[in-house]
Amino acid sequence: MNLKRYFIRALHRLQKGPGYTYKELLVWYCDNTNTHGPKRIIREGPKKKFVWFFLTLLFASLVFWQWGILINTYLSYNVTSSLSIGFKTMKFPAVTVCNANAFKYSKVKHLLKEMDKLIDAALERILQCGKQDPFSPLAVNSSENDSQALDLQLWNQLPLVLIDESHPDQPIIDIFTTNRTGAGTQHNSSSPSPSNTTAEAKKYKVAMKLCRENGTSCVYRNFTSAAQAVMEWYVLQSTSIFAKVPLEERKQMGYQAEDMILACLYGAEPCNHKNFTQIYHPDHGNCYIFNWGMDQEALISSNPGAEFGLKLILDISQHDYIPYLTSAAGARLMLHEQKSFPFLKDQGIYAMSGTETSIGVLVDELERMGYPYSDCTLNGSDVPVKNLYKGFNTSYSIQACLRSCFQAEMVESCECGHYLFPLPEGVNYCNNDDNPDWAYCYSSLRSSIRHRQFCIDSCKETCNDTQYKMTISMADWPSEASEDWIFHILSYERDLSTNVTLDRHGIIKLNIYFQEYNYRTISESAATTIVWLLSSLGGQFGFWMGGSVLCLIEFGEIIIDFLWITIINGISWCKGLKQKRAQTRYPDAPPTVSELVEAHTNFGFQYEDGSVTPGSGNCCRGRLPPEPGTPPPNYDSLRVQPLDVLELGTDTEPE
């Protein structure tokens, strides 16, 4: 109903023609707007008018330019960081302790027996070879008998070979057979190609032969050091062997909590190996995590200093190490967040046997804003890599993502999973029997830059990054004076024996505690918010023109009025055109004044006229110079206008 009335009114106005002109509208606007410039344009003399007009234009363009800059700044989503440092009651970090050696040698000997025999024999020959004249290759007679007993099939899956650098045409010497083979096979580019300048100093090198497709296509992986080659070979072989052993058995072969953790003290409260959560870590066998927070609340530490931290005594029983698998002896330990998986190879540190290692901890946190401020992930759900460490119930981390990504690549190209990483569903670990090519496949994958880059690109870092900065100090422990009784007590507690079953090479003391300042938090906040943007926009507008949002609305209103006037003008112009045409079509005499007067006064006449040609009637009225019917404009400014006229009149009078 209202709408209809509104339309009728609009139509009425359309028919009536514009109430006022553009100039009137502008003058009115300038006089009444709240922005500072326009008022001055109309108030003062022509020179000043000119100046103010330009000033206003200049300021308006400045405002828009600066607004553009501000909006751009806002859309770049900058952040500012704030740093806080101090001491507060915090969750004690989860502490993972492992033995550097994954399995007890005494328990895995039956699995590794063949390999040990092989490598012993191989080493013997390699060492012999260096001593002898290189031109009479390998006197093998002495160990001919032994080699019969060796499992050469295991060896031939992944043999080590000697490379004689003094024979560029026939460099490859098999270790257990005396044949030399030509260099028809390609060299792996793993080490720079041997140059003749250094060949004189070193005659022999050890390389690993990696074959696929039943030994038809092989590459040799060079090593500058025989020690490295032996270690690498052993790791690959043992991986294949352990991959076939079920998990439960592997756990049994590792170090048990009660053997490893001899004493534990957290703050003033005693704890023991039962406070530790066992997980099986493929690198280090059984690992024990203190305060993982998986099944109970995380412990809280509210005091700095060694007295209130965690004190541990560990035994790593070094005599039970697998000789070829691990060369460094000690405990591996790592501090990490609750409910996160410990990646010891990346973040772990060593603790040396026979020492007391004190670790002061500072929690270095970085809290970042997510999208769109930075490209990080809150919980890893938006990362395209399937997190294989979900099975441990642990949170997302970039290390987990990278490893999952590698395993996925491995499964894709080698059709089996690597032993060091968790398995995706329906895939088995690689071993020499089922996947004879896996070592080749793995080696090429590992050195492939492209695959690594792919994983780096697809994984995202977490938004909250917590690091534990450690201040590590060491001292000899136990001291010579206290050695005796400490070993006695610890041996008794562990084995209930009166004999000393521990020694300096196996025992480690650890102190982990918060430092006086235990946290350093860098947190991000948005540098530019909507509030900031609005206040800056307002500031700019206010600074140059004293304007506000209302001024913008005023301006919009004026534009609508303008359009309205234009529409009305356009319509009247159209009608004028029509009228002209109509006049040419009926070249009668125009209505006389009396007729028109009659038309204005005589209602009946008007009605008839309107009903016959309403358009022409209106047009006639529009064409007439004075409009008796139009109401005077309501605007004040228009009232000023006559004054101007008056002024001009008075001005002219003296002349």
Binding site: S81, Q399, I456
Partner: protein, 650 residues
Amino acid sequence: MAAGRKITAKIKKTLPVTGPQAPTLGELMRWYCLNTNTHGCRRIVVSRGRLRRLLWIALTLSAVALILWQCAELVLGYYSASVSVTVRFQKLRFPAVTICNINPYKYSVIKEYLSELDKETRSALESLYGFSEGKPKVRRDAEDRNATAYQYLEKVPLLRFEDLTRKEATDLHSGHKRKIESNIFHKGSTNIGDPQNMIGFQLCDPNNSSDCAVYTFSSGVNAIQEWYKLHYMNIMAQIPLERKVNMGYSADDLLLTCFFDGLSCDTRNFTPFYHPLHGNCYTFNSGENGTILSTSTGGSEYGLQVVLYIEEADYNPFLVTSTGAKIIIHDQNEYPFIEDIGTEIETATATSIGMHFTESRKLSEPYSDCTESGADINVENLYNKTYSLQICLHSCFQKAMVDHCGCAQYAQPLPAGAEYCNYKKHPSWMYCYYKLHEKFVKEQLDCQQKCKEACSFKEWALTTSIAQWPSTASEDWMLRVLSWDKGQKINKMLKKTDLANLMVFYKDLNKRFISENPANSIVILLSNFGGQLGLWMSCSVVCVIEIVEVFFIDSLSIIMRRRWQKTKKWWNSRKAKQSRAPAPGTGPGKQGHDNPACIDEDLPTFNTALRLPLPQENHLPRTPPPNYSTLRLDTTFTEQLPDTLETESR
């Protein structure tokens, strides 16, 4: 003539206003207050009552003061920086790792140069403490004790001080007691309780033997080492560089195995680097051949793993007293200051060094006092590397050394045209050096003022931990194989204590980038200005222009006009006096005008309103009405009329 006048008249008509319309300052102010866009001013004029008006004046003025204060604060705080920390997980450039043996030269080779010095050191030890190390050496020493003159002890005698307070000392070499007249410096023993029985040495200016400095040490160990080092540097300065390089450890000597990023590497990946104090050092990934290695996987297996061969038996007994290697992790463009910030590596252990990379960048001038490239620093960079504070300080000291002592210190690179100090050519250099060093430490050389910190720096935070290596179980085969690796040249079994295993790796590939950004820009500053102006007074630049216009241009022109009129009036009156013809119309005109203006103070009544145009109409032909429409509404331009009347009439 007439046409020209017509044109001027027309111009006058179209552009009529040439000065402020308001006749007096008071009117101008009133007009301004009523018409300005700033708030507050209007209230002053509109308010009724003196108290209220005063209040508004005070409020407006305090608002202006507040604006000025706040804007000053904004300008002063313009050059502040905000810090942003970004973390990016990415492929990281592996830093350069420089590895040195702690012992600079093989003792067996360098012995020929040092035998004299060592002999004297031993004899000094014997006379000081009554023992000599190693039986066979004693015999030999005893033999030639009398045969040779002690040139080193002669030059810089070691002294034993019985009592410092009495300044008496015993010369160890001659056994004479002598009185010490010179200044005594305590090195490393600033607050010893017992000033007795101290060892030290005396350095004298050879040109002026009374000018001596005595350095004392709380422990003989320090004294002997310092004394030895002094002579050692002297001797080394005379040996040509190639010879020194030959005497040091070769890359094959030092490095047994090398493994990087899961692949084997060898000595060709190491760039030799000669360090004056540490002899031959080797830099892994120095970027010299144009390629810089990078790691795309964190963790210990993918970093650098080397086994170092530290030949403990070939160590210099006096120069270095610890065994092991020194490593430093630095950027490819940085100079490795091994002696200052190196990390020591123990033998018979595996040292695992986890790195975490942080890059920081500061804003340079005018935000902080740092230098981007070092080009704006008035100290020549003697090192062929990018600028750092350390480089600047060392270069500055070296420069001062060359200027003061005429020769260069051995531990730092040579400036152009200088040579290293040695006794033969520069007999006084030691004394000079010690003096200069003292000055340097006390910041009297101006070096600390001249050198600025660099704006950007890269830092590798290290987490170092050690484990026993090789483990007892693997020791046997490990040593055998490593001996074989090395043994194709040297036919001997290695010992555990000659070896050190080193692992350097990225803990994670997160790169922290801490950068400073300007907290303000011109746009934001203007916004803040606008906010302040708007908050207190609803003012803008337009208002400022208004203020300038009204308070400076218009006010001045009004004052000038007044002056002009006064002088004219005075002139006229003088003229009138001369002609004795009183000016007609002025007196009555004024009177007639005063009356309506007086009435105008009250609210206009119907009568006054009606009467008002009447006097005006009388004058209209003569005075143009003011152009301000507002002024016209204010009916109080009575003052203007006589003035303009006079000016117009002429």
